[in-house]
Structure formats: C-alpha cells, structure tokens
C-alpha cells in the first residue's frame, strides 16, 4: 500500500468512526438535541470553515457528514489526498463534538483540555500571526521514552513554540511532572487522534478572525495557514492510517510532519521528514517549517543596549586592551557549509582575560562562521562591519576599527561582573543570528587568544580580506548591471537619496556597493533598492535616465536629476552625515576637501562645519558635495571636471588615509607620480594666496586645466 492509499484508508476509517459516533449520539439524545460548542461564535469551526455550515443541533451533522464523505475522493493525486485529509479532520471534529452534544462538558475534571474557546484562539492567534510566538507544534503519541518527551516539550517551550499534545505523550508529560495548561503554552488536548479536530478548529478560527477568510472558501483556508501559521506536527509510533489521514490534512494546510517512523512512510521534501534521532526533532522541525528563533536574551553578565554605544573606556578603567596596532588581532566572518558548523558553538582557543595583567595588551582573533542556504560570501564584510555596533552595545566594552586593525577595551567593571572572552562570542552569535536571520541558518564563533596561532590566522584572514578587496577593486561602475539607492538616513533627512556604485560609496562612508547589495538582498523592502542603469544620458558626468527616475521616486519628488561624477551639474545631495565635504577653491580652479574630524580652517576661509552648512539636508548646491573618504581615490571622483587632479588641498590626516590609492589613481589617469605631495595641507597653507604659490611651485596639474566656472 502506497502513501496515498494509507491516507484514503485512514480517511475511510475516520469517517466510519464519525458516522457511528453520530448515530450513537442521536440514538442517545435525539437528532434535535442542541449541539453548541461552548464559548465560540464559529459553531463547529472546521465544518463552518470548509462547508460554510452552521451546526446548532445534532441532526445538522447528517448533511455535513455526507459532504465530508463526498470530499474523500480516492484518485491517486495529491489533490485527492489533501481533500481526504481535510475531510478526515472534519470527521475528527464530528467525533469530538458529539461529546459536547446536549450541552455536556466532556473534559471537565479530566487531564484533557478539549475544545478551545474563542478567547483562547485570540490569545494565541495574535502572537502567532505577528510571530511573537514563532510557531506551534502538535505532538502525537508517545515519544520513545518519558525523558525524550520531556526534553522535546521543554525544548519547544524554551524556544517559545506553543505545544499541543495528543495521546500517550500526555501521560509521559504527566509522569515527568511537566507543568501544563494554556498559560504555560503546553496543552494536553485529548487522548485520541480525533482530538486534532480541536486544533484545526483553532487554526481555521484564526484564519476567520485575523485573516477575514470567508467560510466555504476551501483554498483560502489552506493558503492562509500555509503562509501565515507556522505549525508543524511531530508524530511517534504507532503511526496508524487514521493518523496518516489527519497528517494529510495538516500537510494540506501547509504543516509539515516529522516522524521517527521508518516503515511504510514516504519522505516528501519539506513535508514528510523522517528523523530517526528524536534528539534532533526540534531543529529538524524548525528547519522544515522555516522557523528561525529570534534570540532576544543574550547570555552575558552585563547589560546590552544601544545606550552604551557611545561609551568611552579610559585607559585607567581598562582591564584588557585588545589592540590590533600592537599585537595580532582580527575579526573574520567565514562562509561555511551547514554541516561544518555546530550552531551556537562558542570556542575559546588560548588564555582568557583573567590570565592577563590588568591593563595588559592582548591579541585576539575572532572568527565567526556562518552557513545558510541564501548566504553569499559578499555578505561577509557586511556582517564584519556590524561587529563594531554589536560589541559597542555591551556595557563596559568599547570597539573601534575593523579587520586586523581592531581595538577593543574591556572595562574593569565588566570584568568584575564576570565578562569573559566567550561573551564576545555570545553577543556576536546572537546578533548575527537575529539580525541576518534571512540568510544565516547556523553560526558558530571561535575566539583565538593563543599568540602562537594568531600570527598564522591573521595572515590567512588577510588573504581573505585581500581577495574581497580584489573583487571590490575589479568592480567598476561599467561592469556591474545595477546601482543601489540608499535612504538609510531618511529618518532625519527625508529628501536625501544616495546612489551607491562600485566606484562611489555612500557619502557616510559606511555603505559600499556590496553593502548596499547585501542590504537589498537581506531585506528586499529595506533602505537599499536596485537602481537600474540601462538608459545612459551622459557617461562623462554620470547621468542616467533610470537613476534620475529612482532619485525622483525615493526623494518623493524633491529631486529630479543627479549626476554621479560631477560637482557642478546636479551633484549628488548630502544628508548631513558625510565623512568629507568638497568645495570649489576658485583661485586655483581646484577643490579643497575637508574631513569631519578636521577642526581647522580651510583655504576657502571656512571650517568643515561652515562648509557643511552650505549643503546637506538633501539640497543640491553646485560647487559643494559631501562624500565618503574612499571616494577621493576613485576614478569617478569629479570625473566630469577632470578627476582627482582638481584636488588642491586636504588636511594632512586625510591625505595619509587616502595617499596610496590616490597616488595610484593619479598615476593611472595622468601618469603623475606621488600626486599627494602636490596637494597642499594645513601645514602649507590655510589661505588662497599661499595655496596658489605652493601649487605653482609643485607644478600641480590643476593649473593647466580648464577653468571650472
């Protein structure tokens, strides 16, 4: 007998049982006996939902039964299996509800819960629909041992999963002294398989209450539960045909079945899963129903809140100083295969904080391995960059830098509260898992503090960074198919839109093209959207019709045109959080760039803040432009105006940051060596006259260029 035949056979058995219960009850109470399910406005909810039939007295069931029978078709097709399955559940409801006929209260004083009131549906329904309860499980029949049953139930409870129990597993729970009842989210529903009628009654009522699904719309009830109710079934032996038939009903509603029964069971991907190891039931089940548990509590001895993001830890308060500038340190996200990762494993390889003198410098390598069906290696740097935010939220921990130039300080207070290296792992695990749940299915953290191993691992990490940089560097605005918009900061600058390209990162410096791509893929409706670049208007100034359309759309009409490579013609706007600002210096025909950190005056006679006030807020100010530091060395920087050769002045600190790459760009574009030495800084001049003198002396290429204005 095949799977389908088991369903049909089970359905027939359930029907016969329902019919005989019905006839028995009618014989006892008469067909006119009232049949009103208590505390519900939805009658016998399964029958109401699927047949649009309002049962109020026992005799009404006759026609309902006929319709149930008619739905138990036996063609060898999934449609027949689904329909027989739902019909079996309705038959189950008939069996159960006959017990309530004539106003009886069949489960009063028993260990079973039976029928759910509308109030309970609502209480459970809201968090289910909003996914505050991530899902519910129906456990049917006894687990291999009482201990297995208890571990399973508690495991679900710990993950916030609502648990319904049917059959022998209930006695196991009682023997293991598991506290049960609706408030603790473990409900012993009933003794026999037909108790599923109560559970599906609850599911269809949720569809009617929260989904406004109309009674009689068979498909809509199944669609609703398939897409919105994250339920699944765990079933143990003996797997009778009637249970298989109800399983077909569950599957029709989108609920997968996980069982340890091997004989006469057919695997169906994501639908019927045979897991012989009961200890793996929970994880197998959650994966089958695509339930990812949001980690809300992070197991660390200090507080975790964005309130601590700006916390500064002074040297004297520092218990340990993890300093990439002095010893080997790094942060490294690696993509792995799912089987290579033990989820939530946190390993410390080497001495912990207490083995260092107070205030000592410590080398630390943090490796976060992730796996997921939708994971892409392009996301690695995106996660890595977020470590900064994650760790800064820890009370008593300060984090700066990235890659192998990190600096992390752990305060004396945090150490005294019990904070150790493994807690860094806990934080990263919890945050990576919860923030990137759409792509990360599994995550493990390894923290290496053993100096002997760090050197080698750091070199390896650097290879990986280099590879990523190579990939990033090989990407140009021309060889990618799309750009991305970024409106991350529209909360305070409502009309600003960044257009992020491989060669022009977001002006805040925090969003590269890859970041934007990842953000888009992680959250399709999020702040970064695809901007096509099919309709080129002018390559030189970087103008596209579709980019303009996107800017118009995302600025809500405030802006209609931007160019990506020009400071004069429709320059890109700024929100206010730019890393640098660039402004035209009229005397030299060049531009000066000043970074946010520089407090002094520029040859324009203005400071950063004064220049910043000229632009920002999403307004276009030709001649002024906010941008990221790393845009300076881009070949697209002021491309329309002649490129980086326009740069005449930068603060020394900024020059140091961009020197190598800027020199390389100038060499490639103009064949000039050591271009940065021709660019003035605050040490040379802070006024136009001395600036011009310096430029003439150095033979700066800008002097030979066409006037800007």
């Amino acid at each position: 007998m095949g799977l389908f035949d088991r369903v049909f056979n089970g359905a027939d058995q359930m029907y016969r049982k329902a019919e005989s219960e019905y006839e028995k009850t009618v014989a006892e109470l008469g067909a006119d006996a009232p049949l009103m399910m208590p505390d519900t406005a939805y009658f016998m909810a399964c029958i109401y939902a699927y047949q649009a039939r309002k049962i109020t007295k026992l005799g009404d069931l006759r026609e309902a039964l006929d319709e149930i029978k008619a739905k138990m078709t036996h063609e060898q097709r999934t449609g027949d299996v689904f329909s027989s399955g739902i019909a079996s559940v309705m038959a189950a409801e008939v069996i159960e509800c006959c017990k309530y006929a004539g106003g009886r209260s069949p489960y009063e004083g028993t260990k079973y819960h039976g029928h759910f009131s509308d109030a309970e549906v609502r209480e459970l329904g809201v968090p289910l629909v909003t996914q505050d309860i991530p899902g519910f499980v129906v456990i049917i029949d006894p687990a291999p041992s009482d201990e297995d049953a208890a571990a399973l139930i508690k495991g679900y409870q710990n993950r916030g999963i609502f648990v319904f129990l049917i059959g022998g597993v209930i006695d196991q729970a009682i023997r293991m002294k598991i506290q049960m009842g609706f408030p603790v989210r473990v409900v012993p529903v009933g003794e026999d398989i037909w108790a599923v009628g109560h559970i599906i009654s609850l599911v269809v009522r949720a569809a009617m209450i929260f989904g406004a699904v109309a009674p009689g719309d068979w498909d809509a009830f199944n669609e609703y539960s398939f897409h919105r109710i994250f339920a699944f079934v765990n079933v143990f032996p003996p797997l009778r045909d009637m249970t298989v038939a109800c399983g077909a009903g569950a599957i029709a509603k989108g609920f997968p079945v996980i069982t340890n029964v091997v004989e006469n069971v057919w695997k169906v991907p994501k639908t019927i899963i045979i897991q012989e190891n009961v200890a793996d039931f929970i994880e197998t089940s959650l994966e089958a129903r695509d339930i990812k548990i949001k980690i809300t509590d992070i197991d660390i001895p200090v507080a975790f809140s964005t309130a601590f993001e700006g916390e500064i830890i002074r040297k004297k308060d520092t218990r340990v100083d993890i300093n990439g500038a002095r010893v080997d340190c790094f942060e490294w996200v690696r993509t792995k295969e799912a089987h290579e990762i033990e989820d939530h494993s946190i390993t410390l390889d080497g001495p912990d904080i207490e083995e260092f003198e107070p205030g000592a410098t410590m080398g630390v390598g943090i490796m976060v391995d992730v796996a997921g069906k939708n994971m892409q290696s392009d996301f690695e740097p995106v996660f890595e960059r977020k470590f900064h935010n994650f760790l800064n939220c820890v009370e008593g921990v300060m984090h700066t830098g990235q890659r192998d130039m990190i600096r992390v300080r752990v305060s004396n207070d945090a150490f005294d509260a019990g904070f150790r290296m493994k807690h860094i792992g806990e934080v990263l695990y919890a945050k990576v898992k919860s923030e990137y749940d759409t792509v990360v299915d599994k995550c493990q953290v390894t923290i290496v503090t053993d100096p002997a191993k760090l050197k080698e691992l750091r070199a390896e990490a650097n290879k990986s960074y280099d590879k990523r940089d190579m990939r990033l560097r090989s990407m140009t605005d021309e060889n990618v198919e799309v750009f991305y918009s970024c409106i991350l900061c529209q909360s305070f600058s409502p009309s600003h839109v960044c257009v992020v390209t491989p060669e022009r990162l977001g002006l805040c410096g925090a969003v590269s093209w890859l970041d934007a791509k990842a953000t888009n893929e992680l959250d399709a409706n999020g702040p970064c959207q695809v901007v096509t670049k099919k309709l080129l208007l002018d390559e030189n100034i970087g103008s596209w019709e579709d980019v303009n359309e996107a800017v118009t759309q995302y600025s809500h009409g405030a802006l209609e045109r931007v160019t990506l490579y020009s400071i004069l013609e429709d320059p890109m706007t700024s929100c206010g959080c730019f890393e640098c600002i660039c402004g035209i210096e009229p005397a030299s025909n060049g531009v000066t760039i000043v970074n946010r950190e520089h407090t002094g005056i520029t040859p324009l006679g203005m400071t950063f803040s004064e220049m910043a006030s000229m632009t920002g807020g999403g307004v276009q100010t030709p001649g002024f432009m906010g941008h990221g530091k790393h845009f300076i060395a881009s070949k697209k920087f002021l491309k329309a105006e002649g490129g980086v050769a326009r740069i005449v002045w930068m603060p020394k600190a900024l020059k140091d940051i961009v020197r190598d790459r800027l020199n390389e760009t100038a060499r490639e574009l103009y064949g000039i060596d050591d271009f940065c030495s021709m660019v003035a800084d605050e040490g040379v001049s802070e006024d136009p006259e001395t600036l011009l003198e310096f430029l003439s002396e150095k033979g700066h290429p800008v002097l030979a260029m066409e006037p800007l204005l």
Partner: protein, 635 residues
C-alpha cells in the same frame, strides 16, 4: 477559489497572427500558410517515406502494384533508408553547430571577443578529459580541452567520451546492442554509406544505426554544444524575461536574432548595450535598442541575459510582419528562406551570417570570431540607421506578452532542489528531493516537452493542450526549444502558473519557488535533459527506462528532431510524437520504431496526432511506469 489565470490562449495568439496576415495582404506578402495551401495535397509517397531517390535509376515509388524499386528494395528498405538519412542530417546539424563553438573555444583569449565565462565548468570538463589543470593558464586548458573535444568528431578509434557519463546499466545496453556511438562524423558517414544504393536493405539494421547515430548526437555533438556554450557564455541561471510579439517596442530600434548558434547573437546583444550605439539610437529618435530573440537563439540568450523572446519557429514571419523590425539577424537552422522576400516588403534588413545558411536576397555578413564585435557593432549601427525608414502605416505590434522565469540547466535544478532539503536528514546536491516527491506520488513523474511547430497541425495548440493537462495531473514539465517558447508566450512559465497545476505540483512549486515548467534551453540542450534523466535514474538506483520520465515532441518537424528522438529513445526514454515520422509506408518500420526499439533499448515511440489522446497516453504511460516500479518494490 483563489488562483491565477491570465494565460494567453492559443486563440488569442491566432487572432494576433490573423491581424498580421492582414498586414501581409496589404503589402502583398505571402506567408507559410499561403505556401502550405499551394503545397496541398502533399505527396503521399514522400509522406509515407516510400519514394526512393538515392540513385538515378529512380525515383522509385512503392505501391501495392509495384512493391519494389528497380533494384528490388522494398518499402521497408526505402522507408528505413530515408529515415536514417534524416537522422544523419539532424545529427550533422547539431554536431556541426557544436564544432563551430569548439573552434571558438579553441581561439578564446582573455582579451579577445570570446573569454571564458564559466571556468569551473571548463575545469570539470578538463578533469573528465584527463587534461592537466594544475599550474596552467585557464586558456591553455581551454585550448587543449577544445582540441580533445574536436577529436570526438573524427577520432579513428574508440567511442564517445560523454557516453561514460551514462549510468552503467545504460552503457551496458549500448555496448551489448552494438550501438555505443563512435566518432560523430563516423556515425553520420556510416549512415550515409549504409543508405547508398546497393547497401543495407534490412530495416532493423537501419534503425539500429539510427539509434547509434542519434546517440553520437545526444551524448556527443549536442552535449558538446551545450557544455562548451556554457563554458564560453556562462552556465545559465534563473532569469526573468518576457515572451511573445509584444516584446517588440514601437519606439525603439528592434533587432531580432534568430537561429541556433549563440556565438553571433551574444555579440549582437553585447554591441547593443554599448553606450555610443545607444546614443546613436537616441539621436535617431528612438528610445533605445531592443534586441529580441526568435527560435532557439532566443532560448540561448534569454537564459543567459534575460533577452526577451519574440516567438518560436512559426512566428518568424510574424516578427517581420509587425513592420517594426529594423533588422533580422540569423545564424543557422530553421530559418525560412522566405524571409528574404518578406523583408523586401518592409524596411527590415535581413542579415545572414553563416556559410552554413546562405539565402538569396539577404545581406550576407560572414561572421568571424576574430572580428565579431566590430561586425556586430556595424550591424547594430546599420539597424539604427534603418530606423528612419520604418513605415508607420505598416506597423502593428500585437500587445500580447507574458513574463517568464527561465534558466534551469541541471546545475540550477539541483540548486533549487537543495532548497527543500533538510540539513538534519538529507544530503544536498542530488536529485533525491525530486525522486522522493515522485515516489510518494506528490509528483506523478516528469515530462520533457520539446520540438518545433508544424503547420500539419494547429500550431502551438498541441503544446498548449498537452502542457495544461500534464500540469493538472501533477506532472512536472521541463521544456526546450519551440515548445519552451510556447510555454513562455502562454504564460505557463510564470511563477503564478502554479495555480493551474494539481495540488501536488502546485505545492512543489510553492515550496521550491519554481514555475511548473522549467526552461532548460535550446533544442541542442536536450542533452541537458538526458543528463537530468540519467542523474535521476542514478540517484534512484534503477535504469533510465524505469523512471516515470518521458519525452514529448507534439509538433516536431526538423531532421534534428528525428535525431533527437532517436537518442532520447536510446537513452531509455519513451518519446510521444504528435506528428508521424515519414515511414508509414512500411509496416515493418512502424513496428520497429514503436515496438522494435523496446527490445533493443527498452523504449520506443508512441504516436498520436490528437493532442488529447496523446496526453492521455502520456499520463497512462507514466502511471504504468509507476506500477512497474511498485511491482519492483522501488516506488
């Protein structure tokens, strides 16, 4: 009832064609329908395959009164020879196309017109061929792989390397039945030699050579064509595109690429994306350049670039009849010579590009890989300059078009199936999820729908009806060629088309996130389908002829199709045909192709011109295979 139903029906497609025929009348152009009328009634002897003209004693035509030709060849010999010659021609076409691409691989270079786009696939193939990979430049490897592959065409000894990919059970049959394919050219030449005057008169021997010649295509030429096209242009991945004549744009420079070999069309697509040419198009008053595909060239570039598909074989004249086509660029195979006369009625420039397909009245630009980009740019430029010559009074573009999700080579199918594995119990990277779904009965089986259009029957109707019915019966469809195009035009490659399926297939589509018909490529890519069936059988642990997977060619017409049908059958897959092969005049041949091959390779043809009867037969055939598997205890 919820559910999507916004298909474009065959009736709607026919109404569009009718409207375009009005244009044809207006400009005094003829279409295939006119010519078909002129050709009716068609020659019965030819139709039945019993006209022999292989020597100049003939032609000899077999009738009950004259049952033998002058040399004494009977209907079975004559029909068998004609049939084998069709297979040889089909094998030659696919394989020569593959050889052209291999030559391009052989001259690939990092800064030339044709770089390597799928290095991994190249390295895998190098491994299969025993070509050294370690420490070598990828292009050195490519050139050696190309040389090795080119030897498959004419090597004096040995059999096709790709035959080694087949499961051992299949290989054993090919070996014991003496149909293991040798060098491709050898099999074609042997077929031609056997059918020369005074050689084989034994129909079974001719059929056996047909199987072997077919195999040299399916597990030789075509498979090489597919592999190498992937290496050069990238293995296709999932893309969204659109199909039907509505993809022509009224305010853009429209260029259709048509044929089969993507070497040419890839470059045209690339050229049309270049900025200076787009600027030129704008300067000419157009909104841009719109490249669309026809026939299998469309399938190739849709799967790799999402280029939109204007239509299938019998739509080629319609594309011109819209009056909105600036240029029709063709490469090889399935090109109507009639396009030359037809394009003369419009401003459309008709460009032929291959010495294989020379057509009088066309502009011939022999396409050379060394100068490919330059040539493509010149053609696109010419098309742009032709935009001003468009006669608006002749323009009518039918509105119908549908979105489609395309690009499912076997590699992608495995990736899709991985999505429904459970990491706690399942292995990844196999066809097992599909097998499990079939075993449980959620899917009843899978059907490959392939082939052309044929005016002998109502065009596209058979494809449409058969697809609809199979979907309703929880049978997953993979499609290539003009059949795939029909699915696109109709909307059956939409994700939403799941709503037209039985509950089992619908659920599978929802869980994986696929349309119910998977687009596997051009007709040369039917080799992908062989690897799919082979992979399923391997992972199932049974021979290919046991799995509930069959092939259907409802509207086939070309000699390539006959060659394909032969390798599909040789692979152990039943082939359902909606057009009769031209052997009806021989009872023995009819018996051989429907039954006789079952004793040789365990599969054969089932022929029925009525699409509803044919689809019923397909479903029954699949259910029969399921029952046989149940009896074996492996379902």
């Amino acid at each position: 009832m919820s559910g999507w139903n916004q298909l474009t029906t065959v009736e709607e497609m026919e109404a569009d064609t009718q409207r375009l025929r009005d244009t044809a009348c207006q400009v005094c152009a003829e279409t295939y329908e006119d010519r078909k009328r002129n050709q009716t009634p068609q020659c019965r002897f030819g139709e039945d395959g019993v006209c022999c003209r292989v020597c100049s004693m003939g032609p000899c035509r077999v009738t009950p009164k004259a049952p033998r030709g002058i040399c004494g060849a009977d209907a079975h010999a004559i029909a068998g020879r004609n049939y084998l010659r069709m297979i040889a021609a089909g094998t030659a076409s696919h394989s020569d196309h593959a050889r052209e691409i291999l030559h391009v691989l052989h001259m690939s270079s990092p800064d030339g017109n044709y770089p390597i786009r799928d290095e991994q696939k190249l390295i895998r193939l190098a491994g299969e061929y025993g070509v050294t990979v370690e420490g070598r430049d990828i292009y050195d490897i490519a050139h050696e792989v190309a040389e090795t592959a080119l030897m498959e065409f004419g090597k004096p000894f040995g059999t096709q390397r790709f035959a080694e990919r087949a499961i051992p059970e299949r290989r054993a049959i090919w070996a014991s039945e003496g149909i293991m394919p040798r060098a491709i050219d050898r099999e074609i030449a042997t077929a031609m030699h056997m059918t020369h005057m005074g050689n084989t008169a034994d129909a079974e021997a001719l059929v056996r050579q047909g199987l072997r010649c077919g195999l040299s295509n399916g597990w030789g030429g075509s498979m090489l064509g597919t592999e190498v096209t992937d290496i050069l242009f990238g293995t296709p991945t999932v893309r969204r595109t659109e199909g039907n004549l509505g993809v022509l744009e009224k305010d853009m420079v429209n260029i259709a690429v048509h044929g089969h070999d993507p070497v040419f069309s890839e470059m045209v697509v690339f050229a049309a994306e270049q900025k200076d040419l787009i600027d030129r198009a704008r300067a000419a008053g157009a909104r841009g350049i719109n490249i669309v595909g026809l026939c299998c060239t469309a399938n190739e570039i849709a799967m790799r670039h999402g280029v939109r598909m204007a239509g299938n074989f019998l739509q080629q004249e319609n594309a011109v009849l819209t009056g909105a086509l600036e240029m029709m660029c063709v490469d090889v195979q399935c090109i109507f010579p009639a396009l030359a006369q037809l394009t003369e009625c419009f401003h459309t420039t008709f460009v032929t590009s291959s010495p294989i397909a020379r057509i009088p009245g066309s502009t011939y630009v022999e396409f050379k890989p060394e100068t490919a980009l330059e040539q493509a740019r010149e053609l696109v430029t010419a098309a742009i300059d032709n935009y001003k010559n468009r006669d608006e009074s002749k323009v009518f573009i039918p509105e119908h078009k549908q979105t489609a999700v395309v690009g499912y080579p076997t590699e992608q199918i495995i990736k899709e199936l991985d999505k429904v594995t459970n990491s706690h119990v399942d292995e990844r990277g196999s066809f097992r999820p599909a097998i499990d779904a079939i075993k449980a009965g959620v899917l009843r089986g899978a059907v490959a729908i392939v082939g052309c259009n044929n005016p002998k029957i109502r065009p596209d109707y058979s494809h449409f009806e058969i697809m609809r019915e199979l979907l309703r019966n929880d049978i997953l469809i993979v499609a290539t060629g003009c059949a795939a195009q029909l699915a696109t035009k109709a909307g059956l490659m939409n994700m939403e088309a799941k709503d037209l399926c039985g509950a089992g297939l619908k659920r599978v589509c929802e869980l994986i996130g696929i349309p119910p018909i998977l687009h596997m490529g051009a007709c040369v890519d039917i080799s992908r389908m062989m690897l799919l069936a082979n992979g399923i059988a391997r992972d199932w642990g049974v021979d290919i002829n046991r799995i509930p997977v069959v092939g259907v060619a409802p509207e086939w017409m070309s000699e390539k199709a006959v060659s394909i049908a032969n390798y599909v059958v040789s692979t152990g897959i039943d082939v359902y045909l909606g057009i009769e092969p031209q052997v009806k005049g021989s009872t023995q041949m009819m018996e051989l192709i429907t039954q006789g091959t079952r004793d040789i390779v365990g599969a054969g043809f089932i022929i029925n011109k009525d699409p509803h009867d044919l689809v019923r037969a397909i479903i029954d055939g699949i259910e029969a295979k399921r029952e046989a598997l149940t009896a074996l205890g492996v379902l």
